[in-house]
Symmetry: C2
DNA sequence: CCACATTGGTTGCCATGTCAACAGTCGGTG
DNA sequence: CACCGACTGTTGACATGGCAACCAATGTGG
């Protein structure tokens, strides 16, 4: 007996997933770049620094990494690029002399405030428009389940 | 009146999508790399060249690009890398002297035949295990709809 | 038949991501 | 206190992807 392959339905769903993944990422980056000059990675960092539970717009490098599930080197380089563009500022940590704070600058805040409405609108119009509550719930359930399996196998 | 944001449910679903996207991609690449030394991009190319409608394991460069929805430069570079590893071979096209065929080599066929079972098993176990037919159908419907919207807005 | 747009493919430059190595710091334990 | 392992962050080497410029070949309208 041979390998168990995917059913026809699964095959289509999986291909659809992969294609959607690629197309949506491309679209997000293109839109963000065009409307605000930000990459999706820039946007993700700015979202964290303007989150409700970050009232002062400041996080430690490692906190950014934990929140975004990014490698520390990725955070470091991303912050460096954004710092060079004036969106962020590094600040030494007095308590732990290894550490660095990342502060949102006025320019950074302006950038995400300018980018967010169009980005959110795009997500709503492309991703959620026409989706029933049941579909959204099903998607949520699927992602939670798959993420749990991914985490379990690590 | 302000911007229309996402509902709580949509917010969670969207964050879940983004995280799933990141985690699943990482997992796929790690697994493929570990079990067969292939990247997901390698695998995608090999899948096309071993597709049922490609009986001779040969495609033109541009056909690979169309099937995968990849930029031509991406195809070119990917093929170069795989050619250097002996998984593929380029062959000049007699009919159109600009063109190149890409031929699957024996090593390339062996590589995907060795990689596919574990990869498919992982997809089944992580992505589809525990999913009802309704969930798979809902996912398929969602991807089709979003892809249509993405295509429409281009 | 010729001028010109189009197509197929490659290349260079830049941005980004991973991994591994490193440097400095902290903290707990003997 | 001294040591050693864990933690924080940076860097360099390398792989990859997008974009634009480019070359060569094709085909098409006049």
């Amino acid at each position: 007996m041979g390998t168990t392959w995917l059913t026809e339905e699964q095959q289509r769903a999986w291909q659809g997933w992969l294609e959607l993944h690629a197309q949506l990422t491309a679209r997000i980056n293109r839109d963000l770049q065009a409307t605000s000059g930000l990459s999706h990675a820039d946007y993700a960092i700015l979202v964290q620094l303007t989150a409700e539970d970050v009232p002062d717009g400041t996080l430690r490098m490692f906190e950014l990494g934990e929140r975004l599930l990014w490698e520390k080197s990725r955070v470091s380089k991303q912050v460096s690029r954004m710092e060079a563009r004036g969106l962020l500022a590094r600040r030494d940590c007095a308590d732990d002399r290894r550490g660095s704070f990342v502060d949102l600058t006025a320019a950074g805040r302006a950038a995400i405030e300018s980018a967010a409405p169009a980005h959110v609108a795009m997500v709503r119009e492309v991703f959620f428009a026409g989706a029933s509550d049941e579909e959204v719930a099903a998607l949520g359930a699927l992602t939670d389940r798959v993420l749990a399996r991914l985490a379990a196998a690590d």
